[in-house]
C-alpha cells in the first residue's frame, strides 16, 4: 500500500475523457496490482472444476496455461449458455449503446477507464457473440462490431469481468433492463471453463463446500467462537446465554454469513442477533453444517451456486425446523430471493414462516420458508415486543448504506430503516442518488474484496465514500450501518482512506446496544467495549 496516492490526489486525477485509441485495440492493463490473483489449482480440483495446466503463472504472463483448444471450449460454453438463458440472448441482442449506463458504474466513476462503462463491459462479450453467433457479425466482421476471440480478448475478459461487482446499478437505468451482473456472471462462468477464476472466490467456495462456510471454520471452532461472544455478552449485560447448535426439533434455523462469526465488526452484529433471540425467547438453533449464508458459487457458476446453497434446505430438513431465519448479508439474499427455491426447492420441510412472538405470517416467504432478519426485527418492533434504550447509541450519528443485492435484487429498503429509526436517535440519509435502488457498491463485492487490488477497490468505492463524506461533513455522521458482511469487511478500509472518523457496523449491532434485556445489569459499554457515557469514559480511564 506504499504506492497508494493520497485521497486528494487520487480523486484529482480521475479523468472521464475517453482515450484516442479505440477500445477494441487497447490491451488490458494486467500489471501487478491491477488483477486479482488467479485461483490455486487445489481449489478447482477439490470442486471438480477444470484447471489450468500449471499453478505457477501470473495474468501478467504473455502465455497463459490454458488448453490448446480453449477457443473451442469457450465457443461451446457460450452456445450452451445462449440456449439456457433468455436474459443472455436479450442482453446480447438489444443494446442500442445509448450510453445511459456509462457513468452509473462505480468503477467507471472512480477509474475513468472506458471499459468500466457497463456498455463496454458487455461489448467485450457481445463483440465475440456477434463474431461467433450472428450472421451480420460473420459477414461484416469488424465493421459489424464483431471480434474474434483472441488471447487479448480473453485477457480483457479476465481483467474486466473481475472488475465488476455485479451490483446491478446500471440495470436500474437501462431502458431495456440490461443487467451487467448477468453478463459478468456468464463471462465468469465461461472463464471458469478454462480454470480462470480468482483465488479470493474459489478458496472460500472450496472451504464452503467442505466445512460449510467460506472461512473454513470447523464445527468445534464455530461453536467455540460463538461461545466466546456469549462470554463478552455476559460481561457487558450480566446475562449468560447458551445458544444451541445442530439441535433437532428447534422451531427456527438461523443462518448468517460466516463473516459475522469471524471478523469485526460483523461479530458485534452476531452478538446482537444472539441477544435479540435470547430476549424474545426464540426457539432457534445454529448449524455448524449450514454455517454460511453467503454463496461464492454465485461468482463462479449457477451450478456452483446451487451446490453450495443446497446445505440450507438439507439442514433445515434434517433438523426438522419450521422455517429459516437469515442474517445480514448482501449476495446471500440475492441467492435466497432469486435463486434458492428455484434451484434447490421446493422446500420439503416446515411451514409458511410465522413469527412465534407476534403471530405475523410472512406470506412473502411462503415458498422459500426463509425470512430476513430485518423483516423479523421490524415486525417485533411493530408489535412493541422489544424494550429499547436508543440513547445507548447516542455516541453514533448513523447513516445507512443500502447493500447492492438486498436493494436491487430484493427491494429491502424500509425494513432496515424501521429498525434503525427505533434503535438510534441520530439517523441521517445520504443523498437520494446514492441510496435505495440507486445505492453505490462498496467497490469490493462479488469476490473482489482482495488485498492485491486495494487501489482499484478504493477507486470503485469512491462514489459510496463521497456520499458518506457528505453526511459526515453535514451532520457529523460517524457510523455507517449496513446489512452485508462483505460491506462490513470492505467499508472500514474504504472509510479510513476516504472519510476518516467514520466506522462501520451492522444494523443488529445497534439493536444489541439498544436492547434492554430482562434482568440485565446496568450497561457501561456498548458491544465494542467502548464506554457508553463520558462519565463512564472517565471511570474507565482511571
Amino acid at each position: 500500500m506504499v504506492d497508494t496516492p493520497k485521497p486528494e490526489e487520487l480523486i484529482e486525477n480521475i479523468d472521464h475523457t475517453p482515450p484516442e485509441e479505440p477500445w477494441e485495440d487497447t490491451p488490458p492493463d494486467l500489471s501487478p496490482g491491477n488483477f486479482c490473483y488467479p485461483t490455486k489449482k487445489k481449489n478447482l480440483e477439490y470442486l471438480g472444476l477444470p484447471t489450468p495446466t500449471t499453478d505457477e503463472w501470473s495474468p501478467s504472463d504473455e502465455e497463459w496455461p490454458i488448453p490448446e483448444n480453449w477457443q473451442q471450449i469457450i465457443h461451446e460454453g457460450f452456445k450452451d449458455l445462449l440456449g439456457k438463458y433468455r436474459s443472455l440472448r436479450i442482453f446480447m441482442d438489444t443494446c442500442v449503446r445509448c450510453g445511459a449506463c456509462a457513468d452509473k458504474c462505480h468503477f467507471f466513476i472512480g477509474t475513468g477507464d472506458p471499459k468500466n462503462m457497463p456498455v463496454l463491459r458487455a461489448e467485450l462479450l457481445r463483440s465475440v457473440y456477434r463474431n461467433d453467433f450472428t450472421r451480420v457479425g460473420k459477414i461484416l466482421k469488424k465493421i459489424g462490431g464483431a471480434r474474434p476471440l483472441t488471447k487479448q480478448v480473453l485477457k480483457e475478459w479476465f481483467s474486466y469481468f473481475y472488475q465488476c461487482t455485479e451490483c446491478r446499478r446500471c440495470s436500474v437505468f437501462c431502458p431495456y433492463g440490461i443487467d451487467t451482473a448477468e453478463v459478468t456472471m456468464m463471462a465468469r462462468e465461461l472463464l471458469t471453463l478454462l480454470g480462470l477464476n480468482i483465488n479470493w472466490i474459489l478458496e472460500p467456495a472450496a472451504n464452503c463446500f467442505r466445512t460449510g462456510n467460506h472461512l473454513g471454520i470447523q464445527p468445534h471452532a464455530f461453536k467455540e467462537m460463538i461461545e466466546f461472544f456469549c462470554d463478552d455478552i455476559e460481561e457487558i449485560t450480566g446475562k449468560k446465554i447458551e445458544p444451541t447448535f445442530n439441535r433437532k426439533g428447534a422451531e427456527i434455523l438461523f443462518i448468517t454469513p460466516s463473516g459475522d462469526v469471524f471478523a469485526d465488526p460483523g461479530t458485534y452484529s452476531m452478538m446482537g442477533y444472539i441477544m435479540l433471540f435470547e430476549h424474545i425467547g426464540l426457539d432457534y438453533t445454529l448449524s455448524t453444517y449450514a454455517s454460511e449464508g453467503g454463496n461464492f458459487g454465485l461468482f463462479t457458476s449457477s451450478e456452483m451456486m446451487k451446490r453450495l446453497n443446497a446445505k440450507m434446505y438439507a439442514e433445515a430438513r434434517r433438523l426438522g425446523v419450521k422455517w429459516i431465519l437469515g442474517g445480514e448479508c448482501g449476495h446471500m439474499w440475492r441467492v435466497i430471493n432469486q435463486y434458492m427455491d428455484t434451484m434447490n426447492g421446493p422446500a420439503d420441510f416446515g411451514e409458511v414462516p410465522v413469527n412465534p412472538i407476534t403471530g405475523t405470517r410472512f406470506d412473502n416467504a411462503a415458498s422459500t420458508r426463509m425470512v430476513h432478519i430485518t423483516e423479523f426485527t421490524a415486525d417485533l418492533l411493530r408489535h412493541n415486543k422489544l424494550k429499547l434504550d436508543p440513547s445507548r447509541n447516542d455516541m453514533y450519528t448513523v447513516t445507512y448504506h443500502d447493500s447492492c443485492n438486498p436493494a436491487r435484487a430484493m427491494g429491502l429498503f424500509d425494513e432496515p430503516r424501521v429498525v434503525l429509526n427505533a434503535v438510534c436517535n441520530n439517523f441521517y440519509e445520504m443523498p437520494e442518488s446514492t441510496i435505495r435502488e440507486q445505492t453505490f457498491c462498496c467497490g469490493s463485492g462479488s469476490g473482489l474484496n482482495t488485498e492485491e487490488i486495494m487501489d482499484l477497490r478504493l477507486k470503485g468505492g469512491l462514489p459510496r465514500a463521497n456520499a458518506v463524506r457528505y453526511v459526515h461533513e453535514k451532520f457529523g455522521a460517524n457510523m455507517l450501518s449496513c446489512v452485508c458482511a462483505i460491506d462490513r469487511a470492505a467499508l472500514p478500509p474504504l472509510m479510513s482512506y476516504w472519510v476518516p472518523g467514520v466506522d462501520v457496523c451492522g444494523v443488529h449491532e445497534l439493536v444489541g446496544n439498544a436492547l434492554v434485556m430482562e434482568g440485565e445489569i446496568e450497561r457501561t459499554t456498548n458491544l465494542r467495549f467502548e464506554p457508553l457515557t463520558e462519565e463512564a469514559e472517565v471511570e474507565a480511564d482511571v
Binding site: 477500445w23 453444517y289 438439507a314 430471493n337 435484487a409
Partner: protein, 336 residues
C-alpha cells in the same frame, strides 16, 4: 476521423444514389418499386419471427427482476407496486410505463466533479435530454408510420385521418406541415449529433449505431423533400402502394419521381435491417427478464426447466469428516 460514422454515411449515400440512378437512368422501377419492397417485407417478417421465436424458446431459468422499489413484505410497510411488482398486474404497469414512457431512461443522471471548497467532490445531476430526444423520436416515428397507412388502405381508416388532423395542426401554409415528420428528422439529427459530439457516446458507438440513424434521416429527408419541395404525383404513388398492399403490384403509367423510389428503397432497407440489428430492441424490450417478471420468487416457486441434480457435500459426508471433533466439542452427531 471516425471510421464507423464515415462507413455508415458512405453506405447510406451510395445506397441512395444506386436507387436514384437505378430508376432515373436504368429504368428499374419494377425492381425498386416491387421486388425490393416485397423482399424486404419477407426478410422483415421471417427475420422478426425467427428472432422472437428464438428468444421465446430460450428458457428463463431464474426470476431476476431489478427491484427499484420497496418489496412486498409485511402489510404495514408500503409496497412499491410498480418498481417492485409482486404480481402480473404490477408487471404490466411497470412494462407499460417502460414501453410507453421510457421510465428507466427518465431516471438518467450525469456524474460531475465539483472543486468548490478545495477538495474535489462528485455530484449527480438529473438529465432529461436523452429521454426527451428518444421519446419524441419514437413517437414521431410511430405517428409517421400510422399516417402512411393512408397509402396502403382504401378507404382510409378514420383514425388515420384524425391523426393527420392533429399532426397537421401547426399549419403554416400549404401544404400543411406534419409535425411528426419534422420532429422525427430533428430528433434523429440530435441523436446522431450526440454520437458525434459527446466523447463518451462517440467512444462506444459502432457502425451499427450510425447506419440506422442515417438511414432514418435519409427516409425523413426524402419524405420531406417530396411533400414540400419536389412535387410527386401522390395519386400515382398510392396506385403503386395499393398494388403492393393488395398483392397486385404494378408500376403506374406516367411514372413517379425517382426520389420516391429512393424513399421506398430506404424504407425497405430499414425494414429488412431490423431483425438483424439492435433495432430488435422493439421486441426485446417486452422480453427483458429484469423488467417483465414479478419479484415474488420467495412467495411462489419459479421453475427452471433445465434444473438438474448437482453434486453436493451432504451432511453425512460432513459428519464423516469431522465426527471426532464434533463429539469432543459436545455437538450432536447422527452416527456415534
Amino acid at each position: 476521423m471516425n471510421a464507423a460514422y464515415l462507413y455508415s454515411l458512405i453506405a447510406v449515400v451510395l445506397l441512395g444514389l444506386i436507387s436514384y440512378a437505378g430508376v432515373a437512368v436504368a429504368g428499374l422501377e419494377g425492381f425498386f418499386g416491387i421486388f425490393i419492397p416485397y423482399a424486404a417485407l419477407v426478410l422483415f417478417v421471417a427475420g422478426f419471427a425467427n428472432r422472437i421465436v428464438t428468444w421465446g424458446k430460450t428458457p428463463v431459468p431464474f426470476r431476476i427482476p431489478t427491484t427499484s422499489g420497496q418489496q412486498k413484505s409485511v402489510p404495514w410497510i408500503k409496497h412499491d407496486r410498480l418498481d417492485n411488482p409482486s404480481n402480473t398486474v404490477g408487471v404490466i404497469g411497470r412494462m407499460a410505463l417502460e414501453i410507453l414512457l421510457f421510465r428507466s431512461l427518465f431516471k438518467n443522471s450525469r456524474v460531475g466533479f465539483s472543486d468548490v471548497g478545495g477538495y474535489r467532490k462528485i455530484y449527480y445531476k438529473w438529465v432529461v435530454w436523452l429521454w426527451l430526444f428518444a421519446l419524441l423520436f419514437h413517437y414521431a416515428f410511430l405517428v409517421t408510420v400510422v399516417r402512411h397507412l393512408r397509402f396502403f388502405t382504401e378507404p382510409v381508416p378514420f383514425f388515420v385521418g384524425m391523426l393527420e388532423t392533429v399532426d397537421g395542426m401547426m399549419q403554416v401554409g400549404a401544404p400543411g406541415v406534419y409535425l411528426s415528420g419534422v420532429v422525427l428528422f430533428g430528433m434523429a439529427m440530435l441523436l446522431l449529433l450526440r454520437r458525434i459530439v459527446l466523447p463518451k457516446v462517440k467512444y462506444i458507438s459502432i457502425a451499427a449505431d450510425y447506419f440506422p440513424l442515417l438511414l432514418i434521416i435519409g427516409i425523413a429527408v426524402t419524405g420531406i423533400l417530396m411533400r414540400y419541395f419536389v412535387k410527386v404525383d401522390v395519386g400515382a404513388v398510392k396506385e403503386l402502394t395499393m398494388g403492393l398492399a393488395t398483392l397486385q403490384p404494378s408500376i403506374p403509367e406516367g411514372g413517379i419521381s425517382a426520389l420516391f423510389y429512393v424513399h421506398l428503397f430506404f424504407v425497405s432497407l430499414l425494414l429488412a435491417y431490423i431483425p438483424f440489428s439492435k433495432l430488435m430492441h422493439m421486441g426485446g424490450v417486452f422480453l427483458s427478464p429484469t423488467r417483465n417478471l414479478a419479484n415474488n420468487s420467495r412467495a411462489v416457486r419459479h421453475v427452471n426447466s433445465w434444473n438438474y441434480p448437482v453434486k453436493t457435500h451432504t451432511y453425512e459426508e460432513y459428519e464423516d469428516d469431522f465426527r471426532e471433533k464434533m463429539k469432543e466439542a459436545g455437538l450432536p452427531v447422527e452416527k456415534e
